[in-house]
Assembly symmetry: C2
């Protein structure tokens, strides 16, 4: 499987990268970066460092958007730390990002191997929207897209109703979700139930090796923050779950296939992801996306642990 990852590392992005980098069946064809969990300069630097740490230094990293299409960016230093990785220092490397932007790299790769590349989008969807603007046939040129983003029946995580990645660039999300990709939206509806809890964290802590060591240190920081939300020592594995669903759609045990919109106005609801979940939805003009509603959490967590070993 040839995978392009668009991401904003970010602690859970780092774990998703570790997961995919460890999969022998995965060829990482490129990594795009975007503002989100930290500024794009930081997420780009992190992506380069992490790929070296995960022994994939040959993967091209392309810096992407520094800000959303329309609004001002809102970064999540309170969740991921000022350096995007919970203050944990990953060794610096000599490698530089490529000169193309993330959107240009994605378009070039997709054109060069039509129908072959899967896209995993783990941050705000700005780069994908830009790629779509550069190449409107992108939905036909890529294989599948898995997006971590949105909250449909679940509460939001940056407003009571909106999820961070979608809320960070609602216009981009609205464009991407309506573009006709073969797209799976891994929303808070499932990621907030894919929790790494104490027993799993202890198993991780018992693992030897640099990869597991860094994962544990990243997660220590992340869990500290999540404890204030969840009321117990645990954290949501948003991006790793999306990576796992890309690798194996069978992890999704229940889903609906529905058109999804993003509210762009709204006093309270700007940035909210909206799915028509009525028993008989109206046939709309918008292509539906797959919205997982149940996933095999324990199988996912076992696989994560195996990948970090």
């Amino acid at each position: 499987m040839r995978v392009f990852i668009d991401c904003d590392p970010g602690i859970d992005d780092a774990l998703a990268l570790a997961y995919l980098a460890a999969e022998p069946g995965v060829e990482l064809v490129g990594v795009g970066t975007v503002y989100g969990n930290a500024a794009v300069e930081t997420t780009t630097d992190n992506a380069v460092r992490l790929l070296r740490l995960y022994e994939r230094p040959e993967v091209p990293v392309a810096a992407g958007a520094a800000r959303p299409l329309v609004q001002q960016p809102s970064l999540a230093a309170h969740v991921h730390g000022a350096n995007g990785l919970g203050g944990i220092e990953v060794p610096a490397v000599e490698t530089s990002p490529v000169s193309e932007s993330a959107a240009e790299l994605l378009v070039r790769l997709a054109r060069s191997a039509p129908g072959e590349i899967c896209v995993l989008a783990l941050g705000p969807l700005t780069n994908l929207a830009l790629a779509l603007a550069l190449e409107p046939r992108l939905p036909q040129l890529v294989d599948r897209v898995v997006v971590m983003g949105g909250a449909v029946r679940a509460p939001g995580n940056v407003t009571p109703w909106a999820e961070a990645n979608v809320n960070n660039d609602p216009e981009a999300a609205e464009a991407v979700l309506g573009a006709g990709f073969d797209l799976t939206l891994v929303a808070l509806d499932v990621t907030m139930r894919a929790l790494a809890t104490e027993p799993w964290l202890e198993e991780l802590a018992a693992l030897a090796g640099e990869r597991a060591g860094y994962a544990r240190r990243f997660l220590d920081y992340y869990v500290d923050w999540y404890t204030s939300v969840l009321g117990r020592r645990a954290c949501a594995m948003h991006d790793p779950l999306a990576a796992a669903v890309l690798l194996d759609p069978e992890l999704v045990t229940e889903s609906v296939t529905v058109p999804v919109r993003v509210e762009l106005s709204g006093t309270h609801t700007r940035g909210m992801t909206l799915a028509d979940l009525r028993p008989k939805p109206e046939a709309g003009s918008r292509e539906p996306v797959v919205l997982p509603t149940e996933v095999d959490v324990s199988e996912f967590l076992s696989r994560m642990l195996r990948a970090l070993r």
Copy 2:
């Protein structure tokens, strides 16, 4: 229990009236009417006729708002028939509505018996919003308010995200839900699971008496429409469930107590009811309301059948 009913009969309103009229412990102190399921002239006429049919001709009926506070009204003749009662003719009576408006009657009754009157709101919330404007102390002057309206995690019934009563007057709903009433919002989240299905409808059909006979004929029409939504012969008992919850809060087996807002702008979400369902909601300035999430449906349906006997 002294109850003021604000309603737009309406087939399920008619059943809620039948239910409360049959309860020996309930004193109906007044009925206000509003546009919604039909025009206010029609719902007023229906309320007068139904109270006679249910042997409560002494209850004062006050005609209320003919249109929402801001937008144009949208009537539901396709669900309730042109006469609001599925084309079933209920005998006309000599009685006339009182000269006060519904809002004025409610305010006068509340002032005359502070803390004693419960309000059951079964239509758009225009009359309650007007009453609140006439008497800002209304939340302190009435006992409890039960509102049938809204859709929080459930899909809407007039748009994919909005429920008819709230969507019919979003400004009124926003005012009422934020006014500080001791308020229970019986939303589609529970009413769409309180279905009258074939076995119950057959039990109803087997009952003797005028009250049951009319109920069956109303429901025959209503079920015909609902079959197109539900894919089987059944219907949601929205208003009767709200009446039952007013009479006995114990029918609610699970609920959350949360601030609820109504989106007033929004391209897709105007009229949507929004509750902050995050694990740790922000402390807001808005008073919370009770939002039932589970009800004892079979007990409710048994009680309905008993009341129609």
